[in-house]
Assembly symmetry: C3
Homo-oligomer: 312 residues x 3
């Protein structure tokens, strides 16, 4: 292998189409390997140590990375609440903490409550940093697994028509996904959100510059028959000043079974999870429901990244 | 091996005598293996992942399971406070969390604060769930290790005479143990508890239906010479409305060295631990004291269950 | 190997010069092994289990031990907040907890908030206990790695001239280091601290009895050209009753780049970390700055101790 060009994974912008293709094909390999009678990668990272440095708890993301490392034969050091439990509480800088962790681990997966933290850590780190979410900032592995799920279930990304639904203003997953989709040809995006959660101008401008078609639409029902993918997100109550507006918004953007049935037969429903009410459990049996597989795809993507960063 | 008949371990009721015998003989093998110069099972679960999903912290139970998994060569994902740290805090359902964990682990050990949780998780889980305690509900591996300890030290379970002492009303260990003992022949149980902590009618009825002899007794001292096993439990202050009653109850049910000496020479003292005052440290040296060995037996039982659920 | 003479590592006083030399040369081997193309010790502790029992969180110390265990091929059970999460919260004694952990782990690394805890645990433990800090008590592995850093960078410990700066009264690292330095020949120690944080009489008396030269000095700048090592520590605001005194003290004991330049070219700057303001980041590039290497040396020392305690 020619060597993976990235030292760290900090933001979705680091990935161009060629690199995405490499990550996705490696993820395919990892998935096949996990199902193989005789695994090839079971000890690929034997003797290597990953530190999960979570300044903000997120059991799911942490377990996804740790499972990926374990499936590759590596070891794990873990903290689920470093903000409270580590020297950060004594006023230590993140760069000092990173330098010290460099002595103990071969790769650091970092979740932090402040945007820009992963980049700041990477600037001083001698070992790879993977950003597992930094506050309002980026969560690039989520964006990668979302795109991987689309490619995997729809057979490709060019020509995809997608509806993004819910909290598009603060939702970092939909922002990153829109960013990555613009790298592909003839993608159409429908933004469907309450006014207070509308997609921000920066992304719309970006899509315009990349000639990616987008529409803004208030009516979910109307768009459903025309898309290959509905990407649902959770609307958080605290975004709304007037409680009645929240209740109205939430009701409008629930994807019931009846609404799901308006989608094309081979379309897919995605959600970064956790969900609350926006997809009722009755939809889980629908063959279009792909959100649990989407979560599982995170394992393959993270195995691929750990492998590419540590082995090449 | 013909294959272990259980997919999940949720409650003591799943085990009949034949199945108990299989678990116990596997536990014997595990114990022998740990003492062997050349271990046979050291890599039995190599490449398998166990997730410790503890919604309620319990370092001891968690370490016991994790040690069991490590002794079999498996890997561990762990969270000690999922209630606070996981998506449960964002309103995610337990079944969603379980489905997602299915993507990351080959077996899930779950501790939860609500009775029925383990069953609810098992209903949707594609991988085995082991209930490590669900609130006022069950804690089946504790019941198994208790019974294993009796079998191991007294040479069998038929004909055993046992005194259960302390909080019999809320103590889930004594309830489960009474349940399992009824599967054996000519067992005699003495319930010794303050009135507010008396064994509940459902268990007494159950014992009657299974022709298991039981007695209710206020006086610990009187029963001691007549039993093969005293199973002590902690009485919690908060059960008592009148503080004076608590003080009186606690004093009456302390197993001092002097009282222990009234027991037959080859009888055993058990306790699920942690203890507070009900067994003073002076008793620890008594050859009848088996509570630390009992705790250690949990390792063998959990190794056996992990092995049987994942290898057969 | 003749066998390591210690069963537990509880306090710096257990180590004489011969034993220190053995630990340090084992640490050298571990360091060389980690850099070797083909590692010899990668599976040295395969099949062994270390329990991190931290009653007080300390991510750094915990990760350092856990990385050491992982680098030797061993397994880890971990809790970062046992005080809150374990049976200690239910009133269980530390000795009971220790006895139970004996069933699950081959070695216990314990951090506790009360001085004397590690000794109390060791008194009942059948497996080695390593004290990873017990309140105002000891933190012997920190003292060992400090001394190892001096030996490693200055080529030996005899004849070393060292300035200890900052909180010498409550700082357990400087106290332990002073203790160990007295075992070597012709060491000179300069204590440089605000009056409220001055080194206590017990250590001064001890140094006198061992004929170790020491001086008390208010002026950091004056001492700098005459020492081989400056050991900085953090001054905690809460030690000062009068806030103005804190501000004055802190300002006086900051090692700026300008001050560092007054040190001999081959002198070294140490700090147990975390630091706050006492060493500004501008000093990090100075070749004399050794505090990050010092932290990393903790890995080699802990690998050495785990190996010596478990393999010999």
């Amino acid at each position: 292998m020619a060597g993976f060009p990235l030292n760290h994974v900090i933001e979705a912008q680091q990935f161009d189409r060629a690199l995405l293709a490499e990550v996705f094909s490696t993820a395919d390999q990892m998935r096949a390997d996990l199902n193989a009678a005789q695994r090839v990668y079971a000890d690929a990272l034997r003797g290597r140590i990953m530190a999960s440095l979570f300044y903000e708890p997120s059991t799911r993301t942490r377990f996804s990375f740790e499972s990926a490392m374990a499936r590759l034969g590596g070891r794990i050091l873990t903290t689920e609440n470093a903000k409270e439990f580590s020297s950060a509480a004594k006023g230590e800088s993140l760069t000092d903490s990173t330098r010290i962790m460099n002595g103990y681990a071969d790769i650091i997966v970092m979740r932090h409550h402040e945007a820009g933290s992963a980049q700041a850590a990477a600037a001083v780190s001698e070992v790879p940093i993977i950003n597992a979410g930094d506050g309002a900032g980026q969560h690039p592995t989520q964006a990668l697994l979302d795109l991987y799920t689309i490619r995997d279930t729809l057979g490709g990304i060019d020509n995809v028509r997608i509806a993004m639904v819910g909290d598009l203003k603060y939702g970092r997953t939909v922002r990153s996904l829109a960013y990555l989709l613009a790298k592909y040809d003839k993608v159409t995006i429908h933004f469907i959100a309450p006014a207070v959660c509308a997609m921000m101008e920066d992304i719309k401008d970006y899509l315009d510059r990349h000639h990616t078609e987008w529409h803004e639409e208030g009516d979910l029902t109307k768009v459903l028959p025309e898309v290959d993918c509905v990407y649902m997100t959770r609307i958080q109550r605290e975004r709304f000043i007037v409680p009645e507006e929240y209740d109205e918004a939430v009701g409008k953007y629930i994807l019931t079974r009846e609404k799901a049935n308006r989608m094309p037969k081979d379309a897919i429903i995605m959600h970064p999870l956790p969900r609350v009410d926006e997809i009722p459990p009755e939809v889980d049996d629908d063959p279009r429901a792909h959100y649990f597989q989407q979560a599982k795809n995170g394992l393959f993507i993270r195995m691929a990244l750990l492998y590419l960063l540590l082995s090449t």
